[in-house]
Amino acid sequence: MAKMRMNQAISAALADEMRADPDVVMFGEDVAVAGGPFKTSDGLLAEFGPSRVRDTPISEMGFLGAAVGAASTGLRPVVEIMFIEFLGVALDQLATEAAKFHYLSGGKLTVPLTVRASTGAGLGFGTQHSQTLEGWLIGTPGLKVAVASGPQTGYGLLRAAIQDDNPVVVLEPRVRYSTRAEVNVGDDAVIPLGVAARVADGNDVTIVGLGGTVLTALDAAGRAQGWSADVIDLQTVYPWDRATVLESVQRTGRVVTVEENPFGGGWGTDITSVVGAELFGRLAAPPLRITAPDVPVPYGKHLEARYVPDAEYVTAQIDHLVSHGELPPHWWDDGEVGQ
């Protein structure tokens, strides 16, 4: 146990895997000498040297592609995509090559590749550097997508990703890099992929959070009056843990996803679609998705803060759902701000 910020926990996970296996290498833009733009690889160059920890040219397609080649031939590379938007210049190597190589080699090759990328709003980086964009990745058979919610999951999911023989993307909500918490390190702290965690127990509603919204969901549950919530940290969003979610909703009778992405097309559609169908006739209220509005992420502290659902709003939405048994309006349905 040690108190760490999430970026330190990530550095620690990388270091632990690199110590355990000389085939683990790490590269990306300014990850070596500078220790990473978000200091998520601090100290690695000093400990593991310039062959295993490398700075790259600005060429995500090139170095992600190189990671695919390295992973197919014996290394276990970890690459950093500084902001998830930059996958827009490199998606081919992840979705069309890496995810399909095991299949397209008749099972002869594995691709133990880990791609880390920072995501989300909250730091004032503007429209092209603040999105979550899991939607680009979900629905790609052969790929796994995990999302860290804080220091502990940042550590445990990353270690699992590096140990996995498949391409795994680990998304890191940027706003949490500076979150400090006690972190269990070591092999016991590895968090299996594909498994969600119940991080709070309650009776009336299941709140499913992912990444940055897990803390929000916990906070919202803490403010609850007249209802209590199971809070689930989904941890892996593709493929996601149906058993844990369905078990919980079966007990609570209500499901709410808290998402940091626009309403149209977010990951919560998958959760609520499956829950709504599988537990048809057994829910006490309609499945509720709490999301950002269908707009580009705005700049400016107050706009950005409003864009991302906050705990107060989540609590209010759930109050409405529980007390009326029907969907609450979104905050932007208000005529004054409407599209």
Binding site: A34, L123, G126, V295, P298
Partner: protein, 334 residues
Amino acid sequence: MTSEAIARREQVRTDRVARYERMVEIRALEDRVQELFAEGLVHGTTHTAQGQEAVAVGVAAAARATDSVTCTYRGHGVALALGLTPLDVIGEIMGRTVGSIGGVGGSMHLCEPAVGLLPTFAIVGAGIPVAAGAALTAQVRGTDTAAVAVFGDGSSNIGAFHEGLNLAAIWSLPVVFVCENNQYGEYSRINLTTPITDLADRATSYGMPSQIVDGQDPDAVHAATEKALDHARAGSGPTLLEMKTYRYAGHSRADTAPYRPEGEFEDWYDNRDPINGFRARLEAEGTLTPEQVDAIGHEVAARIEAAVTDAEASPRAGIETMFANIVAPATEGT
């Protein structure tokens, strides 16, 4: 303000003293922006362009207001050179409605089509093919407008650079590619990420003419860009210009540039500062007097302070702005 921007655009096009003044303005604005961030008055990040003023102003002097320009997140200098006002820029950075795009963009997102500035690009390399496309419009319509893409040395390693230059070459598009080789991409010196020294050499891959230009000399930048634009307008196709320049500040807000070799900054600053050099030349020519230099310094300082004051006094972008300008309402058919 659009009308003011158009007037300012023309000054830099026609008057070398105005170019000097604009360089001073860029320097002052960038210094002030850094302070605003340091004081915690602004949220997010910023990338300033002190040291690179001659590239911005020299390019703006050569291009016409009807030409399209794409540039990067390190775009305050290019924006001011093209005519945007300090209030346009500072207002945007401070998230105010008076900002260039109404305060929803921040430091990395400026735009003013009236003076040719397309939305600035926060994705490395993305503006390069977009500039080629703006040149395509001119070519298809048979006008004599052209386009300019301004981008960094580090950006010459990304695929969009290669594809953009190749397309422009094979279609002979009227576009000029201006690489601001400021020696660094983020925290990495160019030699750590790029296997050649002169990026102008990359024009070979596209059978394209190229030129290495002293990016600290606004006259040299102006002359080279004008020549390339003339070549482009004549239908002879694109040119790659490599401007050798230097980034005085760190990459972004928090970066103090500890990775720079000792003395490197001082060498550029003491011996190749674009503002000092241009002032000395204008004075030697008799185009500018020491009194004018002082007056310009004072005026510019006052202008920047006024812009900060005006920005602070103007409303923050309201929640309703989040919902504006996402989907254009009018369609051709309606």
